[in-house]
Symmetry: D3
Subunit: 238 residues, 6 copies
């Protein structure tokens, strides 16, 4: 039995509010149960030095947590003058996940920065960030289309992410914090709407686990991502 | 005429949602028009070194803005490894404003950190932070009372803050961003519900201004703070 | 009775030595009783990026304290790799106070940096810094005039600053350290020679204070700034 | 055809020199073709604060690259005052990989830090680091046994790591730099000698890839890790 | 001919003002021509961790330059968040020079920090710092004697420092900035009043120089240090 | 008797392996007994801003120690976000020592960075670094000659370095760690192959020492540097 009473292959209640942030070109406030992440996409008319005069654009991501998004207060990274290793790792993952589907020739020499800020945390913040970031980024591209700056959305596919884990011996979908902190193994799956792999990260928390167990997590993830992708399309009205 | 069509002595539409943050001991999501700030109060069972073994508690504050809370994206302070001067100045102001009314002998050797994070900015984020921070802090003290750890709320009064300024030659209450960025002078007033001064900061933006003009801003501020204090009490149900 | 035996409306003994620093374009070693601050103005033939090709100049300020300017040694900010919040706040105040009176069109694309370094501290270092900084800046402008680079001093007025406070229940002018550390309220007034407001910062140290008390501090400040401005003119020979 | 002429399932030439570092309690200079990493294990008689008085030990890892280990010189992280995101990510991975097999009750309140410093880089530095780190850590435990401080090696198994990727459409084992920089997908596998999963990280470099392709990489990895584990045992004489 | 018209073996005009800093336990404002350094000695009743419970004290030094002590303004180290290599090198030298003559058993578990802050620079700031630091440190020890905390000055000798160099082919004593910036070689000599060596640093600025040339610099230095030591004793009244 | 059994004027066993680092333009792995330093020279086709458009090149050096190169593990400088004072001092010394012999007009607007990384430390790492750095730099220049970019090696002479010290009352050459940590005085000599001085740094570790003692160290150093220079030429085949 899961603490939340969910079925093993059941996602948490997912709510996506696109356009939440009035000032950003694209945004999505995504709620996966009690995990709440505000994703904003900001377009800038410049690219990093290595892309100047190439005609190509760039997409990057940053991640942060409000100090009291968590059960006990974390020190504010800005005050400590340093992002934690975990933060850096997550924002690199979000960035790679988005870039895997973007056509960089398709939106000129512009940089889009997707900020994923965790307002409340209950497990799965990195996967919620990726799922919400896709919506925010899509909206930003829509804005460029509306403004006549580009002709079509420069993305080759759709991406969402979910975590799975082995909890009390059984594979379960979309870990919340009580599960995450007691899982024997967990894995984050970043997949396309067609089930192709963009990124997989699997980690044994206690003992090493088997290829078969990994396979069962993969199966759950494909189901979860498919559902998340449908919710993204619904939120975007596409 | 104000850009928003408000009367010179009219506050923006104010919404306070106490208890917004599930994990924090106290919280308030305050919306002053399009300026939205999430204030959380976190209790820790320890005090800074200079207070150890004194029987006294401490209250401090931190302030931050989400990178895309503003019209154009600001660099993330955590990524730059440094808080801006403006950030430091504001969080010191919030802390002083709260401490002016707290009875440090009244809640044991505990530290309460109030985090004010700007989710969306449209002028007046520091005064909104103070007004919301009072509610979050009050809630945290209520929690200690509920838990039987203290007998009464250790606060000597009630505090709220508002900005006033001279816009197109006329004194106006509660500047929004279009006003703030064009004001000839502006001042932030941190006052008690009885109109006593906790902190005043007045600055000439263009030319120096007169004592009489300053007086007219003060008059507006007293009206505004009185209304804000009523809204705080209503939000807290006290 | 004040610890120094001064009358309530009496400044400390003020000495200004313009031209103290041989290498700087302008300088003033200002002594307000035992508070000694060396202010230097440095002209550079470049402006910050946001002013390039605008024909305008810029004025900025930095503030520091020698580690043993104070009663007990403070850690050196350069060694700790970080300026304290108080430092940042003060140097921002000095910069704003000077900029309020400068005509930025009047001295070409040049930046003048005014450094205020506290050699010895006995209260009121920020107001002494502003008062001395005006003299240093004026001297730097004189140098540009002498060199034929500009035709006249590009300043719209004269500025000085002083702190006032409520000490043992009575309003007093120009707090020294023994007063400052025991004041019930204090306020820093940055005023023009004509008594107009450039910046006001008032803070309750113990209990909130009244508008009337604030008014009495203002009255003292106007008297003090008037005297300081006369001393500045005498030092500059204008 | 691979640039090196190796068969698709062929490791590079692997050399492990245990005991290379005279001063360290354990060490291994591992060469995987032209990728050379010096791994040292340092025992300290203290643990991080969260483990004090628990009777448990800790194992952690740090990673670095000499500035000119690579084709073009990288800035020295110590000089820039900051570890790169990639560095942090890798050292966290190495630490987790080792900890997965360590019995923390088995060596007292000691911390062992495994430093993995890349002397020369030609792809696969993180997997070479893990493989070498196991040997260094094992040696350090042997030292504690020799000194009579513990009775047996407190490890539950053996770990090695290897990267696999899809290069020119074909799955290949143990990517070198020319392959790594042109792979369509690559994955790092951290496995036990029995083929159980400790950590898997798979990333699409160009287009998303399929579950079947991922499976073929896994098969190669199991073969490679088995061979690496045999070489580790041979190096350690166990 | 030297730019200053001095004889080759002639020091600049030297002025030492002991007790310049009201707040410090010991101090000396030393002027070597236009090089002005304020040295303060601060006693703290604690020692660094490695000396706790050893009964021994410690002496350390820090060095800084005011941003406009020099011909063109230098960035403020506190603002850049980092001390320059040159700064670190100099403060380490000052510390070693003082420690060479201190009897650490002779003043209890106290740390004395000598701060050397350059108010105005015209060459030779590090040697002026050492010469002034000795006086400040001596005063601090005198204070401990006066307070009855120690019985005698815990120093084994007297130290001063001077730079010499080869300028236009001739060896000269006590380089000022115009000489220093054009010297072919220069050396800093930290010597006791009896001419023994505490530290020597010699550097070729253009071409390597000979042992004979080095010897002639040494001869000048001994003469200069002897005179400086006499001035120190005169300043201290010993 | 020296701990190593060496004669007072005997160097440690010296091994230089030029070309050790496959990726660098020049390199030398130098072993002085148990002190092992990898020196690499990296050519970049750019110069620091102050040399742009002057036609001149630049040579600089950086120094680092692997965390467990020493008897007990040192914190990693990259992780602490800061280079130690000692590190900065040493890399400045290496850079000056190389630059003293380089003809900056002779290799175009290029910067050569020599990295000296200590793999294992047993005293004398800075002098070993200088001796090895010369070989690495020479190789890098040879590469430019081979490539036809310059016609001849732009160096005016040959440089090596060695430490000497007074150990148990007697002057000895080339201190190893047991000697270095017990020397009464030590000095580092950076000399040309002809015995001219590039840099000398002498320090009293216990009591001040005499000019005569310094002279005896100098004599040893000249012998040692002469031998090191012969080994450099042999390694380079010149």
């Amino acid at each position: 039995m899961r603490p939340s009473g969910r079925a093993p292959d059941q996602l948490r209640n997912i709510i996506m509010e696109p356009g939440y942030a009035k000032n950003a070109e694209g945004s999505c406030f995504i709620k996966c149960g009690d995990t709440h992440v505000l994703c904003t996409a900001s377009i800038e008319e410049r690219v990093p030095p290595f892309l100047r005069n190439t005609g190509k654009g760039w997409v990057t991501a940053e991640y942060g947590m409000l100090p009291r998004s968590t059960g006990s207060r974390m020190g504010r990274e800005a005050a400590r003058g340093k992002q934690q290793g975990r933060t850096v790792e997550i924002q690199r993952l979000i960035g790679r996940s988005l870039r895997a589907l973007v056509n960089f020739e398709g939106f000129g020499e512009r940089q889009i920065t997707v900020d994923c800020d965790v307002i409340q945390a209950d497990g799965g913040t990195r996967t919620a960030s990726i799922t919400g970031a896709y919506v925010a980024l899509y909206q930003a591209f829509e804005k460029l289309v509306e403004q006549g700056k580009i002709l079509e959305i420069p993305m080759k596919g759709q991406v969402a992410a979910v975590s799975c884990g082995i909890y009390k011996g059984a594979p379960v979908l979309d870990l919340d914090y009580p599960e995450d902190s007691n899982a024997q193994a967990d894995a984050n799956f970043v997949l396309t709407s067609e089930g192709q792999i963009i990124e997989i990260q699997g980690t044994a928390e206690e003992d090493p686990f088997s290829e078969a167990e990994f396979g069962s997590l993969f199966t759950l993830a494909k189901k979860g991502v498919k559902e998340l992708c449908a919710l993204q399309r619904q939120a975007l009205g596409i």
